[in-house]
């Protein structure tokens, strides 16, 4: 037998450890298209409940947009279902090149290469560009996919304190002798919802002759006046050497990612990035939908403007209700609860009130920083936000944490 009881029980014990540690993940079954209002079956087998979705990355509300669905349908008719190939053998269609061109123009870069996901883009890009003579210096709060990508790369690695420009400069000085230095950061940080200081990072990069890498997955499409991303917000369009981003969030939310940036660096990825070379091309249906998304967001800022208004209303509303949020301007709005159990209990109560949001705690966020991460969408209508705000207020009142300081909440619930 290839899977004897001894091995089964070994994995069973590991799973028990995860369960007893309170970090066992369970999928919620959604029985509807992605939207601001969805039907959820949770726990599995229970009756379906209609809830307002406050935790999707559907920032622009394009995941189920009729024009995107129609474009995807046409793509299915005209370019088929699958390509049964990697890109460089027989997996590149005209629509793939079209999408790469649109992304290049939208992001204000020199060239773009698609990957099956941004996770894959991040997993492949560092190894394709850097070797033992180089050094990667990353912000400590970068996304897990970047950490994995850096681990796969033979270049030296180092980190700087989150958004601490003084510490970054110390590290740039420490590694002055490296062949090339790459500063690595998220544009918008997914757990705290704050933005990288890209203007200062670019200035330091110019001073110390370093390249700049930004993962803008939680920004592309809506951060900046015309939604180009964090580089637009910080006034450094054209100065970021490598941008990775995703089609899986604001840009229709299906799947796919890309590396966009300096022509030579993108070409190096075409030659060397293993997730590009050894995994299937993005299916035509997804590419067709994404092409339509790029058309929409390149021609109007209407949806990012609605998102901005929703974000302002939500941040202001939560603060006025007496909840503690992480300050910022992005549609990622963490409601701070500090205690892990409280974050889980709070999310459960919200669900009973018809609001779907998820609690995060260590190790996803630092110890004592448990929270409920809320995410706004252009698809949220005023009545959704009114109801969600009323629910947060009601549950906050129930746990008696409204208008309380961080210390008062910690004293009561523990850290």
């Amino acid at each position: 037998m290839s899977f004897p009881d001894s091995i089964r029980s070994l994995f069973g014990r590991e799973l028990d450890t995860i369960r007893s540690g309170g970090i066992f993940k369970e999928e919620r079954i959604i029985c509807a298209p992605q939207s601001s209002e969805i039907e959820v079956e949770f726990p599995a087998g229970s009756s379906r409940q209609k809830v307002i979705n406050m935790c999707a990355n559907n920032y622009l509300g394009l995941s189920s947009h009729p024009e995107v669905i129609e474009a995807a349908r046409k793509g299915l008719d005209h370019r088929g279902y699958g390509m049964s190939s990697v890109r460089f053998i027989c997996g590149t269609q005209d629509i793939h090149k079209e999408l790469e061109g649109k992304l290049t123009r939208f992001l204000g870069t020199e060239d773009t290469i698609l990957f099956p996901s941004c996770m894959d883009a991040n997993a492949g890009v560092f190894e394709a560009l850097l070797n033992e003579q180089d050094v990667m210096i990353s912000d400590r709060l970068v996304h897990a996919s970047i950490v994995d990508g850096m681990r796969l790369c033979k270049a030296q690695s180092d980190t700087f304190k989150h958004s601490d420009m003084g510490h970054l400069e110390e590290k740039l000085q420490l590694h002055a002798k490296a062949r090339t230095k790459m500063i690595i950061t998220d544009g918008s940080f997914s757990m705290d919802g704050d933005l990288a200081k890209l203007d200062q990072i670019v200035a330091l990069a110019e001073k110390h002759n370093a390249m700049v890498f930004v993962d803008d997955s939680h920004a592309t499409g809506f951060i900046g006046k015309t939604g180009r991303g964090t580089h637009e917000h910080c006034g450094v369009v054209g100065k970021i050497d490598v941008i990775t981003t995703t089609l899986g969030k604001a840009l229709g939310g299906a799947s796919g990612g890309c590396v966009s940036g300096r022509r030579e660096l993108v070409e190096m990825c075409r030659q060397r990035a293993r997730p590009y070379l050894f995994s299937n091309t993005i299916p035509p249906v997804v590419v067709s939908g994404a092409n339509k998304v790029l058309d929409i967001i390149s021609s109007t800022t209407e949806r990012r403007d609605i998102l901005e208004r929703n974000t302002q209303f939500w941040r202001k509303g939560l603060t006025a209700a007496g909840l503690i949020i992480k300050e910022g301007e992005t549609p990622i709005v963490p409601v701070m609860l500090f205690n892990a159990k409280l974050s889980q209990d709070f999310a459960k109560e919200l669900y009973h009130e018809g609001i779907y949001a998820v609690g995060f705690f260590f190790p996803v966020v630092p110890k004592g920083q448990a929270r409920i991460r809320t995410q706004l969408s252009a698809a949220h209508e005023q009545h959704h936000l009114d109801k969600a705000l009323a629910a947060f207020t009601k549950v906050g009142k129930k746990f008696d944490i409204l208008h309380k300081t961080k210390q008062e909440i910690i004293d009561r619930f523990g850290q």
């Binding site: 400590r140 950490v147 850096m150 681990r151 690695s157 180092d158 980190t159 304190k161 989150h162 601490d164 260590f362 190790p363 630092p366 110890k367």
Partner: protein, 83 residues
Amino acid sequence: MPDLKDVILDYVKKEYLEEDDDREVTYDTPLISGGIVDSFSMVSLKRFLETKYSIQIPDAKATPEVFDTVNNIIDLLKEFHIQ
């Protein structure tokens, strides 16, 4: 000359704690399992020790367990005859 333990403790505080972080860090405070140093950022601590004491710590020895407290790190340095 400052004690070896204090040199390492000072580095850990300066490198890993934010300015507003008031957590007390002692020789026995769990650094990695306690969430002060993430395993990925541990590399700068390894580099600091290697540069400061002119040693090469093999990757097999640079585990989260070995680096988990200042006292553990002192035990590691003893293997390199640094006390």
